[in-house]
């Protein structure tokens, strides 16, 4: 187990370096100079040089990347405050993702402020999609070709085909604008509200449409997956044996079918949550949620490399962590699997 963990961590570092290098390279292939955006629309060559030095983009790409890695490490060369590329010596320091080119705010702060919003959307959305997918998927499998099964498949088709932006706009229009049951848009913090609006009730009230929008696509995918898994498991020999031994149907379904059929769902859930944390761009944009997805979109259009890189780092860490958790959890819930 310990060796397995070490091996996974080493792979995580390789993956991390690969992802961040690719992000850097893509940014530097695009011909856009962040310095010209910082110094204003009428600045001259001297102003641009000053801005380039100020942002630290006056050095070659590999030097900039090494500086980025140095900032991320808890031990290394300490950068003078507000002075990109000027160092005061070696020692322990707070890991930093740098500062935004366009707003100059610390990327750590930007990401950490936005992450809870995205987490609210993703974890809440995951609960909603599982609440939809589990009963619908199981019942569809138990009553194949029934009315419920066919209705479920229509839902799957719509959920997979319709774009989240369209779903979000329609939900906001119908439930927010026409019926007035929910807010059209906006976000309230669940704890320590940053604005007048806050608390668990207001949080949930503002999140209901984003959760449903976010959940529909995943719910559709999960209904299909759960239905297929349950149907496959129902035809297994051990299910037939259990029934032949006279086990009640509810027990057969609960202990023999679902226990086995839902194992892949755990894997998918962990991976999807990790992936979605990196950016739920569409839902956040439609509902004005100040999360990572919205920031990612803005930073890409503004060519704000530090913010984009910060979100990439955060997303990579999430995916690696959730994959690791899923693998470990899998070994716990499925006795046939042993980690080595």
């Amino acid at each position: 187990m310990f060796r397995y963990l070490i091996r996974r961590l080493l792979w995580a570092i390789v993956l991390f370096v690969a992802v961040t290098v690719v992000t850097y390279v893509i940014f530097f292939v695009i011909p856009a100079n962040p310095a010209s955006r910082v110094c204003g629309k009428t600045c001259g060559p001297d102003d641009i040089k000053r801005a380039e030095k100020f942002l630290g983009v006056d050095k070659p790409v590999h030097i900039q990347y090494i500086r980025f890695l140095n900032r991320l490490l808890p031990f290394g060369r300490k950068e003078a405050e507000g002075q990109t590329g000027e160092y005061t010596g070696w020692g322990f320091k707070t890991p930093s993702l740098g500062n935004s080119y366009s707003t100059r705010r610390e990327v750590n702060e930007v990401v950490l402020t936005a992450a809870p919003v995205t987490a609210s959307l993703v974890f809440g959305g995951a609960v909603v999609w599982m609440l939809i997918a589990l009963p619908l998927g199981i019942l569809s499998a138990l009553r194949p070709r029934s009315l419920l099964d066919r209705a479920g498949m229509v839902f799957v088709l719509v959920g997979i085909s319709a774009h989240p932006v369209w779903i979000g706009l329609i939900l906001a229009y119908v439930f927010g604008y026409k019926l007035g049951w929910t807010p059209i848009t906006g976000y309230c913090d669940v704890i320590n509200p940053a604005t007048d609006c806050g608390g668990p009730v207001q949080w949930a009230y503002h999140m209901i449409l984003p959760w449903i929008t976010f959940a529909i696509l995943f719910a559709a995918l999960y209904v299909r997956m759960i239905r297929a898994n349950v149907m496959e498991t129902l035809s297994e020999d051990y299910v037939r044996t259990a029934r032949a031994k006279g086990a009640p149907e509810t027990r057969v379904i609960r202990s023999h079918v679902l226990r086995n059929a839902l194992l892949p769902v755990v894997t998918m859930l962990g991976m999807d949550i990790g992936l979605a944390l990196g950016g739920a761009i569409f839902t956040e944009t439609v509902f004005g949620l100040p999360g990572l997805g919205q920031i990612a979109l803005e930073s890409i259009t503004q060519f704000d490399l530090p913010i984009t890189q910060g979100i990439v780092v955060f997303g990579t860490v999430c995916i690696i962590t959730f994959n690791l958790i899923v693998d470990l959890l899998y070994a716990v819930i499925d006795p046939r699997i042993r980690l080595a």
């Binding site: 695009i30 011909p31 856009a32 100079n33 010209s36 955006r37 910082v38 110094c39 204003g40 629309k41 009428t42 600045c43 001259g44 060559p45 001297d46 102003d47 641009i48 000053r50 801005a51 100020f54 507000g82 500062n99 366009s102 707003t103 100059r104 402020t113 609960v127 599982m130 609440l131 706009l169 906001a172 229009y173 604008y177 007035g180 049951w181 929910t182 059209i184 848009t185 906006g186 976000y187 309230c188 940053a194 604005t195 007048d196 609006c197 009730v201 207001q202 949930a204 009230y205 999140m207 209901i208 959760w211 202990s255 439609v286 004005g288 100040p290 919205q294 920031i295 259009t301 060519f303």
Partner: protein, 554 residues
Amino acid sequence: MRRRLWFAAVSMAVGLGMLLAAGFASPAESGTAKNEGRGGTLRIDSNSDFDYIDPALAYFSHSWQMLDAVCANLYRYPDAEGNAGVRPIAGVAAGFPKFSNRGLRVTIPVRRNYARFQNGAAITARNYVGAWQRNLDPEMQSPAAAYMEEIKGAKAVLDKKAKTASGIRAVGNNVVIDLVKPVPDIVNRLTMAFFCPQPGNGLARNSDGINAPFSGGGPYYVKEWTQRRSAVLERNPYWRGAIAKTRAANVDRMEYTFGLTPAATKLRLDRNEVDLGAVPPAEVAGLAQRYGINQGRFFLRKQMTFWYLIMNHERPLFGPSGNGNVGLKKAVNFAIDRPSLVRQHGYLAGARTDQIIPYTMPGFRNWDIYPLAGANATRANQLAQGNQRGGKVVLYTFNVSHGPTVAQVVQSNLKAIGLDVEIRSFDRVVQHTKAATRGEPFDMTYEGWGADYADPVTFFNTLFWGGNIQQANNVNESYFNSPKFNTMILKAAATAGNARFTQYANLDRLMMRDAAPVAPFINTNARLYVSESLGCYKYAPAHGVTNLTAVCKK
């Protein structure tokens, strides 16, 4: 097994609880004014957050709109619409500047005990001097520096060779500015948010700017700013006495919500959940039809912005440097179908133009140079005859909004004069970066430009003066460098008063008639939809936005 069942049951309960809580919750309180006129809360939706609330750093138009309500600058634009709203007046200054030493010394008297910050401290000359010195501090990396380079000692500060600029100082209650060359548009420049006074012993010199609360001595102060979420402005309790009579400050409070889509803002405006905000361009026709134009809910106002086709003078087709291939450039101006190009910007998006100076800017005179009603193919062909030089045109445009469709109209229009246009579309930033780099292989590019302040210098000297052409980051993307027009541009910039605007008006006519480095086609409109509870609507023409201090709640 039992533990897992428990876990499943608890998860299910949490999920259902969340949905139930959401279903039974009531909407959050939102302030709505009950009295007409003075008082109430102005609610504003904004697609994006302020870039900064620090006047030294803020450069977004909606940040300047907010700072206009927060800052008591020495000079400001009056709360008037039309031409009256673009001529600066004294704000906290006791009058217009006194020029001495052949225009190299500017003395601005500051009124005593006139304006106050939100903490009650009176604004003095020192508050302005401190703020402007801070703008030059290399730690700030302020875009204001580009507007202060004529100040004596400014360059030394920017180059870290001096701590303060010797050319800015407070003498008694006067601000004294020593310049290395005259700046006739200094009054207009000082209306910009960059020149807001700063309270106390000076604001922190952080490159990421200050945070709330912030008072610039204006009618309001920034009470709260939660980045990417919201901001609150409240009335400056010391906005009273003589200064309060010069400027309305109708609402008590302003609440900003950031990050909402125009589609969501439109629905919120319909439901009176918000008073101001941008709506999707596709909604404009419906709004104009439903509410009428300028009848209380939907307003149309002119902006000091134009969109134009640039012809590259460093390429064989339209060059060489100097006046270039004048025949073909004029032919392009005759060949383009302006009504069709304007339509690509959307319903009521702007007025057709063939000039550089926008309609509302001082110095605008209506010259009839090129056809506004449609292409004049006959005249265009006469002018193009023998000047096509192979007839191949590379046109750069951006790949969203009206970028692609405008390029297609141009492609079709120029075919009529024997030009074969190849369209290359890019991301907006990439297109600008490429076209702004000298030597980039394009013949034409499509751009827009807006004024930072209401003076033609922001168009001619920035976009067409050959002296500012550099290797990269050019805004003179036509690379127009005509000795004759360079001299005229500098002469106009060095002139003051009405003569200045007359010179720019003539320059507008002569440059478009005799050199035609660009083909302008639209002066844009602001299309503004407001809530049913918003009254006293007033527009700030110099900034191209709603005047936040003048509007009121019904």
